[in-house]
């Protein structure tokens, strides 16, 4: 009798946990997550040195406010599972493309664009890199925009580095980008210390 009571309860718990995981993975991602991620690049008060980041990881004071916002945004994004990369690419497609004509105007769309580009750092497995590469092969103007905008950390953790290098060189040789821009996928690059990888 007692076994029959316990057994259904356990199954119920398993179903409940499964339902919770399903729900949390499929929770609709708010676009503001990308605005929050953009704080890494655009916020005046975001810790830049390893010392500051370590310090902020241990405390939740006002000067670490932006750090904790980014940490929460990263968790929300990666909690989406495989859908996270799709959402990131979609934000880049929509908001970066939309921001291009008005690059000198700061807007929420521009922040989402920067946040989306920042988030690419989290997607560096061979399969994910393939997907990101395919996206930029179709939208090389956005690759140019990303490289010109800033030295994003994701430019330096690509698996298919050679293909990235070729894509950028090809685009540059066709006059599609500013000839002054250095190819960030050349192995000697990546001297700048980034911040997203320290989170």
């Amino acid at each position: 009798m007692s076994m029959r009571l316990v057994f259904p309860s356990s199954r119920f718990l398993v179903y409940l946990i499964g339902f919770w995981v399903f729900c949390s993975c499929n929770q609709r991602l708010s676009p503001t997550v990308f605005e929050e991620l953009a704080l890494v690049s655009v916020a005046l008060e975001f810790p830049t040195s390893a010392e500051e980041i370590i310090s902020c990881a241990r405390k939740d004071t006002s000067e670490c406010r932006n750090y904790h916002r980014v940490v929460r945004a990263k968790a929300s994004l990666l909690n989406q599972g495989p859908a996270a990369l799709d959402a990131t690419v979609e934000v880049i497609r929509l908001d970066c493309m939309g921001s291009l004509p008005n690059r000198d105007t700061r807007s929420r769309a521009w922040n989402r664009c920067i946040g989306g580009l920042t988030a690419l750092y989290f997607f560096s497995s061979p399969e994910q890199d393939e997907k990101v590469l395919e996206f930029f092969e179709k939208n090389p103007v956005l690759l140019c925009f990303a490289v010109a905008e800033q030295d994003f950390a994701w430019l330096h953790n690509r698996v298919h580095r050679e293909r990235w290098r070729e894509l950028f060189d090809t685009w540059r040789s066709t006059g599609g980008t500013n000839a002054q821009l250095e190819n960030p996928f050349v192995s000697s690059q990546g001297k700048v210390r980034h911040r997203i990888e320290l989170l």
Partner: protein, 270 residues
């Protein structure tokens, strides 16, 4: 014997004159963002970044005798701030943080007008002119309109003539000539054209020839400027200094600003 002595003296004074050829001391002054009551940490006062320069100039200790100081003031930020401050309400507001009454933007603009200036940039120009008269120093104020202008301006100086470059303003690895706020009142970067990027240093490496061999350290007074200073030093082969962490401009002197760097003031040699 006496004649020989005179000749030697004359020769050495001639050498001294040659050594004292005018050198150019470049000071890039970033602008404030608009006053934002919800952001109590930034830009309560419009003059944060020019005040330390003006104080040093007033005392005659800003530049060396053979230096001509050039103040490159980022005009759009000061014009925008003036237009905003001049419409501010004319009452005192209480600073809840420390309980002291703070002079409002209204009083800042009133003071500028009382000095006979038409706006903040005009006030800076008038003050500089006064310091030139009082201290017999050489100061030229150049209103700067966009970041590319800064590199272009450096390129206009004769080779071997720049003694040092200073920056005062907002910074986050790159030098920000202004400041914006997002929808949550968080202080964020200005538009691309209002940023002197760290990556622009390498693109302008040819400017290394502009620096005099007898130079002073280039100083970057802003938050987290150490990486900028390090690359500056390496690229232009000059000494440079910057902050690791935040700095506080609410200080009486440039030395105090250096001392306020959270993780120390960093010095780099080529």
């Amino acid at each position: 014997m006496a004649s020989g002595l005179n000749l030697n003296t004359a020769r050495s004074s001639k050498v001294r004159v040659k050594k004292k050829e005018e050198r150019h001391f470049i000071i890039l002054v970033g602008g404030p963002g608009l006053y934002n009551g919800s952001d109590s940490d930034h830009d309560k006062a419009w003059y944060n970044y020019i005040d330390p320069v003006m104080k040093a100039a007033k005392s005659g200790r800003l530049a060396l005798p053979d230096e001509h100081a050039h103040w490159y003031v980022y005009e759009p930020a000061y014009k925008k701030r003036w237009a905003d401050d001049v419409t501010a309400p004319s009452f005192f507001e209480r600073n809840l943080k420390d309980g002291r009454l703070q002079v409002t933007r209204h009083d800042h603009t009133k003071k500028v007008i009382a000095e006979g200036a038409s706006d903040y940039v005009d006030y800076i120009k008038k003050k500089a002119a006064t310091y030139v008269k009082q201290t017999s120093s050489k100061i030229t104020v150049h209103p700067l309109t966009f970041d590319a202008g800064f590199w272009t301006e450096l390129g206009k100086f004769p080779d071997q003539s720049i003694s040092r470059v200073w920056f005062l303003g907002h910074a986050a690895s790159d030098l920000w000539l202004s400041l914006e706020h997002d929808s949550d009142d968080v202080a964020i970067s200005p538009a691309r054209h209002e940023i002197v990027k760290r990556s622009d240093i390498s693109k302008n490496a040819a400017l290394a020839r502009k620096f005099a061999s007898a130079h002073q350290p280039s100083m970057f007074y802003g938050c987290n400027t150490q990486e900028f200073a390090q690359l500056w030093s390496r690229t232009f082969k000059v000494a440079a200094e910057g902050a690791n962490g935040k700095v506080n401009f609410n200080k009486s002197s440039l030395g105090d600003i250096e001392a306020s760097a959270t993780y120390g003031w960093k010095k780099f040699t080529p």
